[in-house]
């Protein structure tokens, strides 16, 4: 494996490894100290451990205008995104979507039109959810939309696992990785002071909390849908559910969290320094957060406007954004969650070996 980003990361890491002042910040640096020299395998591994907290940049004695010109958050972001694109089948698609946020918007519009025209969901209607689209039809449409991309992503992860030299997973690798991801350990700055990101060289915990809201919000929404599916098929309990039912409690809480989290993430991203982020893929990052925001916000509106004339339109937008989100899942920043978990598992293997 060879690329400009990998070469540049190699140059920078050799300097970092002779300094090591940033060792306490995160797992990427702790991994670095295990190596004397760097290659694609360990650089890609470190890149996927990196959360772009940018603390190492602000602490660095060797940033521009110093001739060493270190910018590890950026070069690791470049390697990281490149590693998702390279490992997932259909790299070209990934590259296009990651560098063009409007592709996601276009896809959503397209899906909305399809739902409207082919799926026959009227734009103006006050009918309830399942009166507009039958449950069977929903399942028929979304099962392949969901499973297909997951298979593609799984293939990508399988290849990635080979690249970073992963071995057979044990329970402890899973639990260590999930704990680190669940607490965003590598975004706490090392001693809990938070990260630099939106506020220059001051530490802040906002990004971590916004990410928590987003991630747990998303998981709650996912749980809501899963519970509803089980209730539907397992117990013959069909929607609509009351507010105090499990699917609604999970879904509404998750939706609110997801909307708040993504809104905050978008705001923080706008305040962050593009020079410390990924090259040429910033648009894709915005696009990804935006589509997540649209999924949850349209869901909440759908619930709120149920029974009004806007229900049809809201349902259309909601389903379309979910469809666009799922179809592009292996090719958007959504990939980061899965590759991050893989990297954390690999790191658990390497530290416990």
């Amino acid at each position: 494996m060879h690329s400009k980003a990998l070469d540049e990361a190699n140059r920078q890491l050799a300097i970092c490894n002779a300094c090591r002042y940033c060792e306490g910040f995160c797992a990427s640096f702790q991994a670095m100290t295990r190596y004397r020299s760097f290659d694609a395998e360990n650089i890609i591994h470190m890149a996927n451990l990196c959360h772009n907290c940018q603390a190492c940049f602000h602490s660095c004695q060797y940033t521009c205008p110093h001739e060493f010109d270190l910018n590890l958050p950026k070069v690791l972001a470049d390697v990281r995104v490149e590693s998702w694109e390279d490992h997932v089948p259909g790299s070209v698609v990934a590259r296009i979507i990651q560098s063009n946020a409007w592709m996601l918007v276009l896809l959503t519009c397209l899906a909305a039109i399809l739902f409207g025209v082919v799926g026959n969901i009227p734009w103006v209607s006050s009918e309830t959810f399942y009166a507009l689209i039958s449950h069977e039809r929903l399942v028929l449409v979304f099962t392949p939309l969901f499973l297909g991309p997951l298979v593609v992503l799984g293939l990508g992860l399988y290849r990635y696992w080979g690249t970073v030299g992963g071995v057979r997973l044990r329970w402890s690798h899973w639990s260590t990785a999930f704990r680190a991801a669940g607490t965003m350990k590598n975004l706490d700055g090392g001693v809990g002071q938070g990260c630099n990101y939106e506020n220059d060289d001051r530490y802040s915990k906002l990004r971590k909390w916004a990410h928590h809201a987003t991630m747990y919000g998303f998981l709650l929404c996912f749980a809501s849908t899963s519970v509803a599916t089980i209730m539907h098929y397992g117990f013959g309990l069909e929607a609509p559910y009351s507010l105090f039912s499990l699917p609604k409690l999970l879904g509404v809480t998750g939706g609110v969290l997801l909307t708040l989290g993504t809104t905050k993430l978008l705001y923080l991203k706008m305040r962050s320094d593009p020079k410390l982020g990924v090259s040429d893929r910033r648009s894709g990052e915005y696009g990804f957060v935006l589509i997540l925001w649209l999924v949850s916000t349209s869901g909440l509106f759908l619930y709120w406007l149920g029974g009004t004339a806007f229900a049809g339109a809201m349902l259309n937008i909601h389903l379309a954004s979910i469809a666009a989100f799922f179809v592009t899942l292996p090719y958007t920043k959504m990939a980061h969650g899965f590759f991050r978990l893989a990297a954390l598992m690999r790191e658990a293997q390497l530290t416990k070996a």
């Binding site: 300097i15 002779a18 090591r20 940033c22 306490g24 910040f25 004695q61 205008p65 110093h66 002071q193």
Partner: protein, 483 residues
């Protein structure tokens, strides 16, 4: 990119002693650790403070940017510091490196105050981390800053902002006006605009003169042009010179600087920590004529790296070449530049630009003098050469396993010793009489305590302790005199 430091012609006519409004209670000259501690302390007490940093914002912080820890006394485990480190042991460590060239009362004052510095620094937004990998030997004595010295500097500048201190970058102090041991104001160039700013008191914390090679050359001759400066190019000592010329009392050997052997390919300035080359104890070091000149294995590297700057500086063209073979390749910290590598010693000598015959002869003689025995890289193993001059008294193993690796070594200057003589209040004196309102902190006065040698992390301790003292004293004086 090299930093251009323009010579600025002072517009002396702007100076108006005793007239015009007094804009600040305390003016702090400098922007590194000591200056920042002084400014924070003064502002906390309620003084109106101005800090003048010569560097641009991205290079702010002087040599503190390159530091990583401070040495701290403690009687029980404290934060990241393990075990205990008493005043007596601390002071003995200082005596060892300075050969007694210290002021005991100032030294003890510094050591005693270091403990409370730890807590104070934390309240200012500094975070500590466990000893870095490869520095376990320091985990008891030195507290490492999370992210290193630049992170500490950032925290302090943020604190200044919160306290409402005025900070000017690219502010070069051209003249510190002192009359009858009383400070009146500073003539300063701020981004090309000169002005005279009056203050009630001043703290001088603008470092040493190690970046002024002409000044170094006065002591070292032409050899100084081959020196590399490990820290900031802004430490050219103008403020120090300015006050010494006005009769401020001085301390420390005016000709000496602290230098270590670093990678010869390091940048001329600001190479910092990464340019170190830690392979010397496992190597054979030749000069440009292919001759050995000192016992490479005299002691463990943390105790010897500091003398190698001088050793190399004394060699022709101020250059040395450390040569190792494959056996030793992974025994020391990774280097920033990759070693020159060759399959044979002849080839390596050619690549390094060494005379082949002489070099090979030296190495063969060295190899022949090596004895069988157990090699222990982390302790004095007594594996010594026999009948060789100079001997290598530890870790002497023949260079016989290709590939061979070579590093060019040059003297890297860390800091200078010449500075102001101060008392326990950090007050500067003129002809042995205390100035009314002039204080000093950091490298600019460290020579009082660190007369020679160096103790890891002690510069930051002196800077923090005396920065805090100077800031407090200067602020209290200013607030008192304003009444």
């Amino acid at each position: 990119m090299t930093i251009e430091i323009p010579k600025i012609e002072p517009q002396k006519e702007l100076i108006s002693i005793g007239t015009g409004s007094i804009a600040y209670d305390v003016i702090v000259v400098g922007g590194g650790n000591a200056a920042l501690c002084a400014a924070i302390r003064a502002a906390e007490i309620g003084a109106k403070v101005l800090l003048l940093e010569r560097a641009r914002r991205s290079y702010r912080g002087g040599n503190s940017r390159h530091t990583r820890n401070f040495r701290c006394m403690h009687y029980s485990p404290k934060g990241v510091l393990t075990d205990q480190y008493f005043e007596e042991e601390f002071f003995e460590d200082l005596l060892k490196v300075t050969h007694g060239n210290t002021d005991e009362s100032l030294a003890r004052l510094t050591i005693r105050a270091s403990e409370e510095c730890y807590d104070w620094m934390q309240t200012q937004g500094v975070y500590f981390q466990d000893s870095l990998s490869g520095t376990l030997s320091l985990s008891r004595t030195n507290a490492f800053f999370l992210g290193g010295g630049k992170a500490l500097v950032n925290a302090y500048y943020n604190r200044l902002e919160d306290l409402g201190v005025d900070v000017h970058y690219q502010a070069t102090v051209l003249d510190v006006v002192v009359e009858e041991r009383r400070f009146d104001g500073v003539l300063v160039d701020i981004r090309g605009e000169q002005s005279y700013i009056r203050g009630r008191s001043i703290v001088l914390a603008s470092g040493g003169f190690e970046a002024d090679k002409e000044w170094l050359a006065r002591a070292w001759g032409d050899a100084a042009k081959n020196f590399l400066i490990r820290g900031t190019p802004y430490n050219t000592g103008e403020v120090l010179r300015n006050l010494l010329d006005q009769g401020a009392d001085q301390v420390g050997d005016p000709t000496q600087c602290h230098a270590v052997a670093i990678d010869g390919r390091a940048p001329e300035f600001d190479g910092g920590i990464v340019t170190r080359v830690d392979c010397v104890p496992f190597s054979v070091v030749l000069n440009k004529h292919g001759q050995r000149f000192y016992d490479e294995g005299e002691d463990v590297w943390p105790k010897r790296y500091a003398i190698w700057g001088r050793l190399v500086a004394a060699q022709p063209d101020q250059v040395g070449y450390a040569i190792i073979d494959q056996k030793s390749h992974d025994l020391f910290m990774p280097t920033v530049f990759t070693a020159t590598k060759a399959e044979t010693l002849d080839e390596l000598a050619i690549k390094l630009g060494l005379p082949v015959d002489a070099s090979i002869q030296t190495i063969e003689a060295f190899n022949a003098a090596c004895q069988a025995g157990d090699f222990h890289p982390t302790e004095l193993d007594g594996l010594s050469t026999q009948g060789l001059q100079p001997a290598k008294t530890n870790w002497a193993r023949p260079l016989d396993t290709p590939p061979f690796y070579g590093y060019e070594l040059r003297p890297g200057v860390t800091f200078t010793y010449l500075g102001f003589k101060v008392d326990g209040d950090a007050r500067v004196s003129f002809s042995n009489e205390r100035a009314s309102n002039v204080w000093a902190a950091g490298e600019i006065m460290a020579g009082s305590i660190l007369g020679e040698g160096y103790l890891a992390g002690f510069g930051m301790t002196i800077g923090t302790v005396f920065g805090r003292i100077a800031g407090k004293e200067a602020a209290e004086y200013a607030l008192e005199s304003a009444r």
